[in-house]
């Protein structure tokens, strides 16, 4: 399996040749060459980054996908796997000389085993449909990205996606037992089993979150959990994000791990309330949604404790969901917060840094300062329990230079996250978007180690090239000081990481 690709191909007539090869075994309609039909594959959920691929193919059997891989390997053609295209880091953005391998037709739930509590899935199965299929057995699949109506399990594995319930139930990596992959050479490999662990290197951990750079996922077996007897939400309003941040820490310090613990700031509260009428207090500066789940007895006990804590910690009002309908309504506003913000601004740019919870107030204040510096509004709606921020930078792509400014602002936020001991991405992945900030979070030797891992799976570098890990030769430039910021505007670091907090000149523009 270590054979190197042989003849390189370019574009133009190669496209036609390759397409003809694929049409020998794939329904010709699903070997897409024309620009118009290809358009929907140009980008993922981060639509500012787009690229035209050489070809798009949609196989409908794993054998066909395997043949695609073998042919691409033979000719050294880059392959970019694609699920639903809801990614937020341009991970599924095509390569101009490459093939987009869409897994959209692999939508079958192969098996639900209610006794072993597992589901065996094709990679294109939508996240939400797993829980729907498991519901008749009183089971569900825990990781629930807000995009769960659309995103696929293959994409979830590639990004190690999280959701509202991660603090208690873990990320994708904690809920996957086995995957089948196609290697870059087109070989089928099974990783993991029905068991909870396997001897040897934990390749399952390595593949989760590998952004389509190490292999193509063709089947996934996930764990299913028993649906909790009861779930209830406490909603609490606060005068400041700082008060809300303290309340978050207090819940955890009291030995309670909520099913979900989410925060919204005033911009997000208003936008969500106008959009969904979820009953959010629009005058609040910060809102917490804390869901407790478990047995009836447990939830009743904890709801009381949390409600009391919030009141003691300066909540201006609290409300406990009195019915399942009310609980769902409270979540509706949160889950629709991105599109809601989309209504109050022509465009928004979503960041994904994660920080220690103790830094919440500090980082939100610094973001506010930067927001004034750049003259761009920000809405915050995020997984507070995990310290996973999602600042949404509001901008107008039709105003020349505004996207570039947002990108630079976003880069600064991520660098601040690293400086306070956090990281540049909690769940959305690096893709193309955060590749510059990788050089801030990791030094050259660490990045070199990542490249070595990549080479162990993909020596020719044709799986999703240009994503995830920056080329070392660019890193110095990414790390150099940014001359635009006045010293006074520079974010203050209250608890510096032991690595010097580098700042990058973020050369705006498309990759």
């Amino acid at each position: 399996m270590s054979t190197q690709p042989t003849t390189p191909v370019g574009t133009g007539s190669d496209r036609a040749r390759l397409a003809a090869l694929f049409r020998e075994f794939i329904d010709p309609e699903y070997v897409i060459e024309d620009r118009e039909t290809q358009r929907v594959y140009e980008c993922d959920g981060l639509s500012m980054y787009c690229e035209e691929p050489m070809l798009v193919v949609l196989p409908d059997t794993i054998d066909q996908a395997q043949r695609v891989m073998k042919i691409c390997h033979q000719y050294g053609v880059p392959v970019v796997a694609r699920g639903a295209g809801t990614g937020l880091c341009a991970g599924a953005m095509p390569h101009p000389d490459g093939v987009v391998l869409s897994m959209a037709k692999f939508t079958r739930i192969l098996d639900i085993d209610p006794v072993a509590r597992t589901a065996r899935l094709e990679p294109g199965v939508r996240n939400l449909s797993i829980s729907e299929a498991a519901a008749p057995f009183g089971l569900y699949y825990a990781p629930d990205p807000s995009s769960q109506i659309a995103c696929t399990i293959g994409g979830n594995v590639a990004e190690n996606s999280g959701g509202v319930h991660c603090l208690k139930y873990g990320l994708t990596v904690h809920n996957v037992l086995r995957i089948e992959i196609l290697t870059v050479e087109g070989e089928r490999v099974t990783i993991g089993s029905e068991a909870l662990d396997s001897a040897g290197f934990d390749l399952l951990a390595l593949l989760n979150g590998s952004e389509g750079l190490l292999g193509i996922t063709t089947e996934v077996t996930v764990k299913l959990l028993p649906a909790p007897e009861k779930a209830q939400v406490v909603m609490a309003a606060f005068d400041s994000v700082e008060d809300a941040g303290n309340a978050v820490s207090a819940v955890i310090s009291n030995g309670i791990i909520p099913g979900g613990l989410e925060m919204m700031d005033s911009v997000a509260i208003s936008a969500a309330e106008d959009f969904c009428q979820a009953g959010y207090p629009k005058e609040a500066n910060a809102l917490l949604l804390c869901e407790l789940d478990g047995s009836v007895a447990e939830v009743e006990e904890q709801i009381d404790t949390v409600d009391r804590l919030f009141r003691q910690l300066k909540a201006t009002s609290t409300r406990v969901s009195a019915s399942e309908a009310e609980r769902l309504l409270m979540w509706k506003g949160r889950k629709a917060a991105f599109p809601a913000v989309g209504r109050v601004s022509p465009d928004y740019y979503c960041m994904d840094g994660t920080i220690p919870r103790s830094q919440l107030a500090h980082v939100l204040v610094e973001i506010e300062k930067m927001s004034r510096h750049y003259g761009l509004r920000v809405a915050n709606v995020f997984h507070a329990g995990d310290g996973n921020l999602h600042p949404l930078i509001l901008f107008d792509a039709n105003v020349p230079g505004e996207f570039e400014k947002s990108e630079e602002f976003g880069g600064k936020i991520l660098e601040l996250c690293v400086a306070v001991g956090g990281c540049i991405t909690g769940e959305h992945g690096v893709g193309v978007e955060k590749i510059r900030q990788m050089a801030v979070q990791f030094d050259d030797r660490e990045l070199k180690q990542f490249h070595a891992v990549k080479a162990a799976f993909d020596p020719g570098g044709t799986l999703n090239p240009g994503k995830g890990v920056p080329m070392l030769k660019h890193c110095q430039e990414y790390r150099s000081l940014n001359p635009d910021l006045e010293p006074n505007d520079q974010p203050v670091v209250s608890n510096a990481h032991d690595r010097p907090a580098a700042r990058s000149s973020h050369q705006a523009g498309r990759p």
Binding site: M1, S2, V115, A116, R117, T118, G138, L139, E159, N160, V173, H174, T183, T190, S193, E194, A195, L196, D197, S198, A199, G200, F201, D202, L203, A205, L206, N208, G209, P226, E229, I252, S253, G255, I257, G294, S295, A297, E298, S358, H383, G387, N388, G421, C423, I424, T425, G426, H428, K434, Q437, M438, Q441, R445, E446, Q449, V453, A456, F457, V469
Partner: protein, 364 residues
């Protein structure tokens, strides 16, 4: 309580220069595990101490040589714990616990040591001290090199520092014992209960003086434990409660139960929790833990390959946990492409094969 990472880095660089194989030694609690190897000892046990602990963050950062006992004491003072409840096997360090991927009886419900890792520092075979992951709950920047160390048995590098997610300890704990079940029925009860929203954190079957006993532990909020135990007592009126001073779970975790008191080879089955019992041997040669997902078998008459061949494809695998032939393979054979990936990953982290050469597999 000292940081000897500089010294460790130099030792590895020196070994590289002279081409000397190194055998990583933590606190010597798991010398029995993996294959027997030769190499100059690289002692990590002195690299110890808690680097950072923020109870409100649920994050603990600790040097790899730190004894579990010290960590657990520190956490206990704050009402927190390592949710994966690792075996100490007389003095284990946290680094060795991760390298050998060791978790205790609560593992299926509370997660494993691998699940709780947030980030770590590692010296690779080139003598480079690197940092991966982080000290925050979620981090998907770069490949998950941190979790890759779980079960790698030091073959990819010397772990020097680890950050973990820790959890609050349970307010209440109660164990119910069902007597007389045969192992097949026990596996089926364990799976049935696991599919219900109960605060189950332990499910183990074994034969005690010839009689099958199924131990079921419930932990969590007081009310939740109380109502679970009530439900169970209604369903199984013959059940009894374990005495509060019975340290069954501790003895199980530490392999101190009579079952483990043997000179025979101890085989570990890591299998799908609902799988039938295989192979067909006398009941009391089995101990079934992890709600069916980890099963122990005693006996020196078996071979690794035969036991693995007896399992249906995809059901899991068997390894030789203690005793038996430690010069031969002790972990199941890998499929060819997976084996190739192991060789290439070893090359990526430790190109000269200096670190724990042969500890995991003879060829690695």
């Amino acid at each position: 309580m000292s940081d000897i990472s500089q010294q460790l880095t130099e030792q590895i660089s020196d070994a590289r220069a002279s081409g000397t194989a190194l055998a990583i030694v933590g606190r010597n609690s798991k010398t029995f595990y993996g294959r027997g190897i030769v190499g100059d000892a690289l002692h990590v046990g002195e690299h110890r101490g808690i680097v950072d602990y923020q109870p409100a963050e649920l994050v603990l950062t600790v040097r790899a040589g730190t004894p579990l006992e010290e960590i657990e004491q520190t956490l206990d003072e704050q009402g927190q714990r390592l949710a994966f409840d690792p075996p100490h096997f007389r003095g284990a360090s946290i680094g060795g616990t991760l390298a050998c991927n060791q978790s205790g009886p609560s593992r299926p419900w509370m997660g494993s040591v691998r699940d709780m890792v947030l980030g770590l520092r590692l010296i690779n075979g080139k003598g480079e001290h690197l940092r991966f992951g982080g000290q925050v709950m979620k981090n998907v920047a770069g490949y998950d090199v941190s979790r890759l160390q779980a079960g790698a048995m030091g073959c990819l590098g010397v772990i020097t520092e680890i950050s973990f997610k820790v959890l609050p300890g349970p307010a209440a704990s109660h164990t119910v014992i069902l007597g007389g079940e045969d192992p097949g029925a026990a596996v089926s009860i364990m799976n049935r209960l696991s599919a219900r929203p109960l605060p189950l954190t332990g499910a183990c079957w074994l034969a005690e003086r010839g009689v099958g006993r199924l131990y079921l532990r419930f932990e969590g909020a007081r009310n939740a434990v109380h109502s679970a135990v009530e439900q169970l007592q209604q369903e199984f009126p013959e059940s009894e409660s374990m005495r509060a001073d019975d340290n069954f779970w501790h003895r199980l975790r530490e392999h101190e139960l009579d079952f483990f008191d043997t000179e025979e080879t101890l085989w570990r089955f890591s299998v799908g929790a609902a799988r039938d019992l295989l192979p067909d041997v006398p009941e009391d040669e089995w101990l079934i833990d992890w709600g069916g997902a980890q099963r122990w078998l005693r006996g020196s008459a078996y071979s690794l390959d035969e036991l693995n061949a007896s399992l249906p494809v995809g059901a899991g695998e068997v390894s030789a946990f203690r005793r038996g032939d430690r010069e031969g393979e002790v972990f199941p054979e890998l499929a060819a492409p997976v084996k190739a990936l192991h060789t290439r990953l070893k090359e990526a982290f430790d190109p000269d094969r200096l670190l724990n050469r042969g500890r995991l597999y003879s060829w690695l």
